[in-house]
Symmetry: C2
Subunit: 371 residues, 2 copies
């Protein structure tokens, strides 16, 4: 932690990680969960790293969320013993499920009778089963109005040997469309009300059941979690420009930035061409509503201790192809850089960028691997 940030060994697009900011993000969310008496089960799909997992362990985390069985295997190998796979069970991976169920406390999500029957028939170890409820996102999950379906599934689970009903789980992914605190608050209320209603109805019969929710926007912005048992935010570990646009974080809370070599300059249109394209950033875009500008990243200056923001001006990634990035910059930024320099870019969606980059370089120079 004492070695100053050295850019001299960076020769190709590299995902920088500011460990201090990352630890602060983890600490802040862990504290909020603790204050509110919530089970904090962070989603590890954003970082997918054993090393970063250890930082969560230091913050007291013992239960985690992942989005695939492969990810569950990866973290089980690192000693995690209580893992929720927050994705409707893929029955084709029954062998992985059997192995994991025998080794750890595995928590799965179902939303159909077929899946429940298949699991019960094929499991030989106990699994906690959540019913996945559509709490407004309309991606997947059982609509809460389908009372009869919910009742039927619970009746069936109740007869199972290997399935224990864990509770109701939802993901308010529609919070990503919010652009104000009020919008986030409204989604928080409406989505958690759905789960609270279900809990009221069924906790008599299943006293151990919980309700689990918690995307990064609502968990970052809200303070009142009464009635909720568990939260599962993930992206907050790094944050990104999308979360900033939603209002979940300050720009200073973003813990990752790409370092990209400049390979060409175009003075006639104030553009810098960098080595860093869709295969590094992903092609996720963000539209800034104030000026209807669409961007793939925001330019920052790399310095000895990490990165700093440009002074005013609009400096952003205007286009990405497979390996090329086009940076629209003001005159001051344009003049500051030469071909062969490194320049920084904050990503639009850190989950997707980290997934493509496959490793992190801390500002102390450490290389952190991931799945």
């Amino acid at each position: 932690m004492n070695k100053p940030f050295s850019k001299s060994q960076i020769t190709e697009p590299t995902l920088l990680l500011n460990q201090k900011i990352c630890l602060e993000n983890i600490g802040r969310m862990a504290e909020k969960a603790s204050k509110n008496g919530l089970i904090f089960r962070p989603h590890f799909k954003t970082h997918q790293s054993h090393q970063i997992g250890k930082w969560f362990r230091l913050a007291g985390v013992k239960k985690i969320t992942v989005s695939s069985l492969k990810m569950a295997e990866y973290f089980a190998e690192a000693g995690w013993k209580d893992i929720t796979v927050a994705f409707p069970v893929n029955i084709l991976e029954i062998e992985r499920i059997q192995r994991l169920a025998a080794a750890i406390q595995l928590n799965l999500l179902a939303e159909s009778l077929d899946t429940i029957n298949y699991l019960e028939k094929n499991l030989r170890s106990s699994v906690n089963l959540f019913l996945k409820i559509d709490i407004g996102y309309q991606r997947t999950g059982i609509h809460p109005d389908k009372k009869e379906k919910i009742q039927n599934l619970l009746n069936r689970i109740d007869t199972c040997t290997y399935l224990q009903f864990a509770g109701f789980i939802g993901h308010a992914g529609h919070s990503y469309k919010a652009r104000s605190k009020q919008e986030i608050a409204d989604i928080h209320t409406s989505s958690t009300d759905v789960l609270k209603e279900l809990k009221k109805e069924y906790q008599g019969k299943f006293p151990g059941m919980i309700i689990s929710t918690g995307d990064t926007p609502t968990c970052s912005v809200m303070d009142n979690f009464s009635g909720i048992d568990e939260i599962r935010p993930g992206n907050f570990v790094f944050y990104d420009l999308t979360q900033h646009a939603i209002g979940s974080c300050r720009l200073n809370d973003i813990a990752v930035a790409m370092a990209c070599p400049i390979v060409a300059k175009h003075a006639d249109r104030n553009e810098l061409i960098v080595y860093g394209g869709g295969v590094h950033f992903s092609k996720e875009k963000l539209t800034i509503p104030t000026d209807n500008q669409t961007l793939n990243g925001v330019v920052v200056h790399l310095n000895k201790t990490g990165w700093e923001f440009t002074n005013g001006g609009e400096n952003y990634v205007s286009k990405l192809s497979q390996e090329h990035g086009t940076l629209k910059v003001d005159q001051q930024v344009f003049d500051r850089y030469e071909v062969g320099d490194l320049i920084g870019v904050l990503p639009v969606h850190s989950c997707m960028t980290a997934n493509l980059m496959k490793s992190y370089r801390t500002l102390e120079g450490e290389l952190i691997a991931r799945l």
Copy 2:
């Protein structure tokens, strides 16, 4: 090649490769190049695979294009001896350049005096250098009107020990916006005219120089390449829905499809939820202008010999999140599938999907690795 396609071992999102279609795509383009007396230097950034590289070798290909020095290293290891890195030189990777230049015929692209000076100072082996010209795409390259700059760079290259002037190179990436044969033809004419003019001006002084162009749309659709020396298409090896929308290929020429497990069904909105999201497909979208519909893939049925198209109806990927895909389907398709079945999806952009998937599964069951 005799084992029938078996889906039984596929349990997670898998990129299927129809080798027969792929070989036909390679053969057709190789034949077109040969008929027109062109150097055929295919771009390998789409497949990035030693094995698929061998199929090109069988079609007589000896020279290739890549988009990064890492890719050049990967293919040099497999015995490729003449490689063009079609990306403005990243001088930070000088050590890779030195190693490659010592081992193979390396062809690089420059567009600034700084880069040329840096290369000359740091190279100890000979390299062929192209000047990168902006032939209308406006991403990077020297604008052809900058006669004085071009002349100055050529004067400088002429004094270099390690740099040989190879010619002028361009990429008509704006052909991807074309949606008719006429639009492609217009771009083909205007972009190649730029290079032909330059050749006329400089071939007296540099008799060995060539002009190199050739994106997949123009190379697929055009028949007249007179005056051009070399083509470098890449995507045609697989094609995809974008190329189909441009008019570069038939749907039957698309050589890759994703196989995705179905994990949930939503009868009230005719949606299937699959395991297969942005980390598998990439989030590339395609807008079909006829009905202003935006999609992330087209649904196909997997069968014993590969895949087949659905009977009419609009069956497409309407949304992707990190691991989930939402398929909008008609009643016939909806009723045909159960949770736990595999369904096929043609990708919007095969380069990006293949980059994420990292391997191919042929219909004969062979696993093909890539960089």
